[in-house]
């Protein structure tokens, strides 16, 4: 395990690993996404309260969960970079940031579309919506800060602090619906105890979660390769992989 971890710290090894994994991860997510979409749109029964609008659950919840998960991945990678001085960890954090920001935007948009028929409004300054918007500002702050430095290593150290500090917001987003009175519904699946959903409605959610994880792995590999190419552009080994 530790040997592999240390090998992963080598940019040529990480680049080649990402190159090998990327098509498998990305393409395996496509049929799963299609299956989950068919399941969510056609196969699961209608909800007795929300009717067909509840089908937005299968896109909104996985995307929103991933927006939090990607931030934790980014903060962990940044912490690994700070502790072990691992260049690839910094590159992984930088590669994950734009994907996480895009997921957060998608979570806010799909949430807004779900809010219109359920709450009667596109937007409300509800605690969950507000903390998710703050998460987007953390992503934007990370990306802006990374671009404000000419020196990559200085940018890495500074953005790592922001990523680690910002991770405090993640449990606040997750538990905001428990800690405060909220218009947003409570956790349905990702909670302690049994999911508050019937089993016949759950399977597309698990399929889409797996698909989104694979998709994230695939796009992360692509962005990580781009980051490594940018950071290692003066290294000799680059000539072998081009």
């Amino acid at each position: 395990m530790w040997v592999w971890f240390h090998k992963l710290g080598s940019p040529p090894y990480a680049y080649r690993l990402a190159q090998r994994l990327q098509p498998w991860l990305l393409w395996s997510s496509v049929p799963l996404l299609l299956l989950a979409a068919i399941g969510g749109l056609w196969l699961v029964p209608q909800d007795y309260q929300q009717k067909d609008a509840f089908r937005i659950f299968y896109v909104h919840v996985p995307i929103a969960s991933m927006s939090l998960g990607i931030y934790m991945f980014m903060a962990t990678a940044a912490a690994v970079g700070v502790i072990w001085r691992m260049k690839v960890a910094y590159a992984a954090a930088a590669a994950a940031a734009p994907i996480g920001a895009a997921f957060t935007v998608l979570a806010l948009i799909t949430g807004s579309i779900w809010g219109r028929p359920m709450w009667g409004t596109w937007w409300v300054w509800d605690v969950r919506v507000t903390t998710e918007t703050i998460l987007l500002f953390f992503y934007i702050g990370y990306l802006s800060l990374a671009r404000s430095f000419d020196d990559v290593s200085r940018a890495d150290r500074t953005t790592a602090i922001l990523a680690i500090v910002g991770s405090v917001n993640v449990p606040i987003v997750k538990y905001s619906v428990v800690w405060w009175n909220s218009l947003h519904q409570g956790s349905t699946v990702l909670k302690f105890g049994r999911p508050a959903m019937d089993r016949s409605m759950l399977w597309p959610f698990y399929v889409v979660m797996l698909a989104i994880l694979l998709y994230f792995g695939g796009v992360l590999c692509n962005r990580l390769r781009a980051e490594i190419l940018y950071r290692e552009r003066r290294s000799q080994w680059i000539a072998d992989v081009l």
Binding site: W42, I99, L106, R223
Partner: protein
């Protein structure tokens, strides 16, 4: 499940389709932008190689 059933899903259908379409478009865009970034870096690295 027929197409007719799909269009009979009720008043909320438009919102559901809108959310699914936006998500699909977003996922395609994320993958495409990642690919473009990689291609840009690869071309730049090649240019540097040939220049040196």
């Amino acid at each position: 499940m027929s197409l007719t059933k799909l269009f009979e899903m009720g008043a909320y259908t438009a919102y559901v389709w809108f959310a699914y379409a936006i998500t699909a478009l977003g996922l395609i865009l994320i993958a495409w932008m990642g690919h473009k970034r990689f291609e840009r870096e690869r071309i730049e690295a090649r240019r540097r190689r040939s220049a040196s």
